[in-house]
């Protein structure tokens, strides 16, 4: 009985993702048949083989580790700064009127342009990349938290206050939980943004990391390795996103609109 349901599940995923398999198949055939030179478009199977070769005999794990270290430090700092700042913006008019013009001024600016300046200040090692990731991912987190905390119903805060709840407890028991869905939304955007930015910054100036792997392979025309690098970062993006979504579903079980998450 159980075996049957597993095979059914496999069948279902296959049909759901049939276009992906179709494209991978066409890709393989075109590349193998030589219509497009395999250097330009290496066959999928060769990319998979190269992936395992780089994983076990190459430095794929090292490069991935470097990228992940930078990304998670940057994203972590952005969350640590962005969430309190967003809540403070919603609670205190002074903070809000100070931050709002900076945010609306900074939001439309392509932050990657700041990267050279960060290199001038912090050098080409970890620091400049972490700073860029921090700047890029902190914007969506602040904005989302601010918007969420702004719409916490005043009635709820009042009723908590009238029951004698202390200021600090109101923050932890009323404001923060009600803002949580929005914080998660901002974090999700920041997650993808930080992955993209770490890869780009490593391609532009770095001696390690997945972006560097892509760049160094492109210089010597190892095209399969290029696909391994870009595939790895995209896979990690999907993986983190999925893990995050399931964590969010657990964390928001109590929420009245839980079905939405």
């Amino acid at each position: 009985m159980k075996k049957k349901s597993i095979s059914l599940a496999i069948k279902k995923t296959f049909f759901q993702y049939y276009s992906v398999f179709l494209i991978l198949f066409v890709w393989e055939v075109i590349s193998r048949s030589g219509v497009i030179h395999p250097v330009l478009l290496p066959p999928v199977s060769k990319i998979v083989v190269r992936f395992f070769e780089l994983l076990f005999f190459g430095k794929l794990l090292y490069h991935t580790g470097q990228s992940m270290f930078r990304m998670w430090i940057g994203l972590g700092l952005a969350t640590l700064v962005g969430v309190p700042l967003g809540i403070m913006m919603a609670r205190f008019v002074v903070v809000r009127s100070f931050m709002e013009p900076l945010l609306s001024l900074g939001f439309p600016i392509p932050k990657i342009g700041i990267y050279p300046v960060l290199i001038i200040f912090f050098g080409v090692l970890h620091f400049s990349k972490i700073a860029l990731i921090f700047i890029e991912s902190t914007f969506p987190i602040i904005m989302a938290t601010f918007n969420g905390a702004l719409f916490v119903e005043q009635k709820l805060i009042w009723s908590a206050e009238s029951m004698g709840t202390k200021k600090q407890k109101i923050l932890w028991k009323v404001i923060l939980p009600l803002t949580l869905p929005h914080i998660f939304m901002g974090f999700r955007v920041g997650l993808i943004v930080s992955l993209i930015v770490v890869f780009l910054s490593e391609m532009i100036a770095s001696a390690e990391g997945l972006g560097h792997l892509m760049m160094s392979s492109s210089r010597v025309f190892r095209s399969a390795d290029m696909f391994v690098a870009i595939g790895m970062i995209s896979f990690l993006g999907l993986l983190f996103d999925r893990i995050f979504l399931s964590l969010r579903r657990k964390a928001l079980k109590w929420h009245p609109e839980a079905a939405l998450y």
């Binding site: 009127s97 990657i112 993209i196 760049m215 995209s234």
Partner: protein
């Protein structure tokens, strides 16, 4: 009184930022080689805009951006709307969009240059690809959210398929499409600059990094000011167009 305060506050933080920049540099707290004063950088940007060498790169970037962005608009909005109408297209495209969503698009520039050579084609293509997903998804969600009763009542009044598309579905999904365009706008600027920083042939991204590598830090700041100006300018134009188009919303 309150209104005056508001204006004061709005101007206050940017002014503090610029004064801090100017002051730290002038006072020598941060060496002016690393952080040239704001006024000097601003003057430098004015000089750059007037120079022939820089305007060549500025033109190259804006020309590629304009073509790439327009192609993406024309291509992806119909696809998104059609995705909402046709289950078959949705089943085909949706898994592809989900899987390619986290791919760093600007990072594809080396692969695209391998395929298309070193000219403008890969650089335009990377912009088209970068804007594609947010535009398709927003158009899809916009068209998906159109109330079916609106379409039914229009049909009941004997309106043809085409008119339903242009007079009901398209206008009703415009607000969502516009939020997608805003996202695509931000992404397109990142893709333009990022891909030019990676490919280093011409354009603003190239110019910015070139100034860094030649140690002309003053110029780096001047270019950064211009880039920020462009970002703000495009966003302002976008808001203006949106307000004009969505007057009824």
């Amino acid at each position: 009184m309150l209104k005056e305060n508001r204006i004061l506050y709005t101007v206050l933080s940017p002014v503090i930022l610029f004064v801090l920049w100017e002051g730290l540099s002038r006072a020598g707290v941060i060496s002016s080689e690393i952080l040239p004063p704001f006024t000097t950088s601003l003057y430098g940007s004015c000089q750059l805009v007037a120079s022939k060498e820089f305007s060549k790169h500025l033109l190259a970037s804006s020309y590629r951006w304009a073509i790439g962005f327009s192609i993406s608009l024309v291509l992806s909005i119909p696809i998104g709307i059609y995705m909402a109408r046709s289950k078959r297209l949705y089943n085909f495209l949706d898994p592809l969009l989900t899987l390619t969503y986290p791919v760093p698009k600007a990072a594809m520039i080396p692969i695209l240059m391998l395929w298309m050579g070193a000219g403008d084609l890969p650089k335009v293509t990377v912009i088209v690809i970068g804007c594609f997903i947010p535009l398709v998804i927003s158009a899809y969600h916009g068209a998906q959210g159109v109330e079916t009763s609106l379409i039914w009542s229009a049909r009941a009044m004997g309106i043809g398929e085409r008119a339903v598309l242009f007079r009901i579905i398209l206008p009703a999904s415009l607000p969502t499409i516009f939020s997608g365009i805003r996202m695509a706008l931000a992404i397109s600027l990142i893709v333009v600059l990022g891909s030019e920083m990676i490919a280093r042939q011409s354009g603003l991204g190239y110019y910015l990094f070139n100034s860094l590598e030649m140690g002309l830090y003053e110029m780096t700041y001047s270019v950064l000011i211009i880039i920020s100006g462009i970002g703000l300018f495009l966003d302002a134009i976008f808001s203006l167009v949106m307000r004009k188009v969505l007057v009824w919303a």
